[in-house]
Symmetry: C2
Subunit: 258 residues, 2 copies
């Protein structure tokens, strides 16, 4: 069977109220669409949330890297392609290509997922799962030129921001929404920066889950011009535990394209 048949293609249009103040698709909406396409694609091929839930498992996002040349604007159409590229014992890599209406690639994304046993909260062994539903959809070698995720460390100085998790931040699993973390990270930077700069790369590593009421503290460290590392910690008694590590890279917009 043609491996391209296992690539999910989802068409979207940037609709009013999905954009940021510059008229570009917001990162919050893009992040949700990446998750939604993962869910749709997995459901199509028999390992979606509902199917897995019957088996008492749930997919949990562990890492995400998104690299973008440009972000579509209000009214523009775009396509998200997604496929499962590899399968380890405890993790699976899901890749994405983002294409403009004329088909040229405008970005790529790499996500790493674990399948968690909802009772024990431990990851399942993906290689031992009974049937072949995971392995048969693998699409190997399809281009997704993103820089692999690295090891993010942040020296803790003065907190850059604090935030208390509330009802609207919580997802159906009872945890702080993966995409809301990204919004918190974006909100570390002033509006004026977004008028002249886009985010060319965003890497996020999810560790400990935060719950409603948790106090989150964000620490930042500039790693290079335009590159900032971020840690989001939650308070556990007297200690702080790292919930999320991230690295965000800004790039000035090319003036002749504006």
């Amino acid at each position: 069977m043609d491996k391209e048949a296992f690539v999910g293609c989802y068409d979207f249009e940037v609709e009013p109220f999905q954009e940021d103040f510059t008229g570009r698709l917001s990162w919050g909406v893009l992040g949700n669409l990446l998750l939604r396409c993962a869910s749709l694609h997995a459901t199509t091929h028999g390992f979606g949330y509902n199917r897995v839930e019957d088996d008492a498992y749930a997919w949990v996002l562990s890492r995400m890297v998104v690299e973008l040349d440009e972000m579509p604007r209000t009214g523009e159409r775009f396509t998200l392609e997604t496929w499962v590229a590899s399968l380890y014992r405890l993790f699976t890599d899901r890749l994405y290509a983002l294409r403009a209406a004329d088909g040229h690639p405008i970005g790529y994304a790499l996500t790493i997922w674990a399948l968690i046993d909802k009772q024990t909260r431990r990851p399942a062994d993906l290689e031992k799962l009974a049937d072949e539903r995971f392995r048969r959809v693998l699409v190997e070698g399809r281009a997704c030129p993103v820089t692999a995720p690295g090891r993010i460390r942040v020296k803790h100085g003065v907190p850059a921001m604090t935030y208390t998790a509330h009802y609207t931040d919580i997802d159906i699993n009872g945890h702080f929404n993966s995409i809301r973390y990204i919004e918190l990270i974006l909100n570390l930077f002033p509006q004026a920066l977004y008028a002249t700069h886009g985010i060319s790369r965003l890497e996020v590593a999810y560790s400990v889950e935060a719950m409603c009421g948790d106090e989150l503290t964000l620490y930042t460290e500039e790693k290079a011009p335009g590159v900032t590392a971020v840690e989001i910690c939650k308070r556990v008694g007297e200690r702080e535990e790292v919930a999320v590590r991230a690295e965000i890279t800004f790039k000035p917009y090319e003036k002749d394209k504006e």
Copy 2:
């Protein structure tokens, strides 16, 4: 022409990552869909954002009342119907019906909009606008049984919450997003309340616009059991100006339906 032809009908399904922790469509997503349907319907009939923008005007939401019997759950289909019910000099009423997959109504909404001159920031006289594009689509007398919006007053005591407006809160007009205000209001209440109660009525009145960096302070006053009035104020020098007034009503879920 049959007036029903001027009712816009938009079908949706509650997709994964659009729900709250109870598995019901989140109010944030519902609010955005109400605005999106307004935009789609107005564009279809020639008075949408793009068309109006050519005329140097923009639609601004002034009031919203949503009354719901039930909220659709993940995987369930629902339909939003919307129509323009009346036209005053400075305002127009847009109504909505929300229907479950089997067609039975599960909620209604009333919204009031003004058309703002983007240069002067003053509302346009809708009755004097050159062509008949507004008046010809009016659908009068179609049922939308919501309690009309009232006058909301809140005694200022201890602030219930403070919030600083950030990048991801700002819409394409450069203002604090209308729906994000609703999320702030929802976040005044504990997660445990949402496990057993739904919001049966939400009324929001938008006054002064907030910008990125504005400090918002939320005040609340219980008006009756389950009914809370909210004011969101922004600091302007030494004073506080009311940006939003709202009233939110909670109703316990019927246990036999759960």
